[in-house]
Symmetry: C3
Subunit: 165 residues, 3 copies
């Protein structure tokens, strides 16, 4: 398989991906908050991320009747990229020690039971980019509505080394 | 604009608001839990708050067809007041270092996409009362049902200085 | 009432219950993550737990029209057992200092408002087994869908003493 890329950003590049700018909060809140928890480490709370493209939702609607499972997975992957962008902006991806938890919400048609298959696309991206540090606990549930009609929203909690200032 | 009120409780008073008694848990749980995280600080988990009035829900139903957007915002503001009441009771509002995260659930009709507009009413109250310490990360989603038929439920995580006992 | 059983596992046995094996994650995530928070203590994030029986959901469907309130409570109790199983596996039940928070999701029919009555079955089990250490903050909401059609999913955050290795 060749040499393993050394850093998260190199791994992203090797996957043909690049990090978007960390999205601004869409309302009266902030994208991330941090608190020191000793030993030069901080806990990072990442606000619920969604996938926008040029100011409008990248996908829009219920899974699977309005947004197919495959499209929802693509959306979840974009959401995962935004989580990485927020972590890069807040603490630097090189400093992420562990993604501790994802709270994942999938806008679901009545009877849709494959929320895990949707959210896996985000989870797998985090592991591909961050390696073991990307392996997280997770809750994935189906909701009746999400902001702006997006199909996927994911919030995260991570542990990081404090960035040298 | 005159002099800035010095404390969270003074700011509340200047807004014509007063803090309700911290609501008791409605079931088999407690309203807040805390854990020390070093340097005389504690992490506070606030259970999901709803808005009751004289023992019944202040508003009841789905947003926006049963509860209007404006009424849902008024409800979210009452929920925000209850979060402040729980923080005052648990650690004292003067000791709040940062509201780290809100998890906000809005009972939504199919197709309702303005959960952020509802939850902003709570978020903006926290910032008005706590200042920079009130600026939080947040997830806001639309759910099919909430306890007792309320339109809004919000849980919170905050960092505070330990109260001298 | 006789002598109080001394340990969580003894209390479980006295209730006629035994701990299942900690369920493996059903998708691209891990069942628990932990982080040290000083003084030999760790914070534990338990991924959303559901109740499976021989590889299929123990119950399946919406509450209360497809799964009765009583059956949903039985399901929530099984989910609570799985949370205990994850804590036993990750840190040992004897080391649990406090269950800090439950995030509870109940697959709900439109108009169902008794999510707390469902989730109480899990909350009460935690208190019965862990005593004061089991008393937690909680959010309980009604969702339109859950993985595999289960009626209840619950995630948890706990504080524990580090297991001697």
């Amino acid at each position: 398989m060749g040499e393993e890329p050394a850093t998260p950003l190199q791994r992203l590049r090797a996957m043909g991906l690049s990090l978007p700018a960390a999205p601004a909060a869409l309302a009266s809140y902030v994208p991330t908050t941090t608190l020191p928890v000793g030993d030069g480490r901080v806990l990072v709370f990442v606000a619920g991320q969604v996938a926008m493209k040029d100011g409008v939702p990248a996908h829009r609607g219920r899974v699977p009747d309005e947004v197919s499972l495959a499209a929802a997975q693509e959306n979840a992957r974009l959401v995962g990229l935004n989580i990485l962008a927020q972590l890069e902006h807040a603490v630097g991806l090189d400093n992420v020690v562990r993604v501790l938890k994802l709270d994942a919400f999938v806008r679901s048609a009545d009877g849709f039971e494959q929320q895990p298959a949707v959210v896996n696309a985000a989870s797998e991206l985090l592991v591909a980019v961050l390696g073991e540090a990307g392996r997280h606990a997770r809750a994935a549930v189906g909701v009746i509505g999400l902001p702006g009609g997006v199909p996927v929203e994911i919030a995260a909690i991570a542990l990081a080394r404090e960035m040298p200032r």
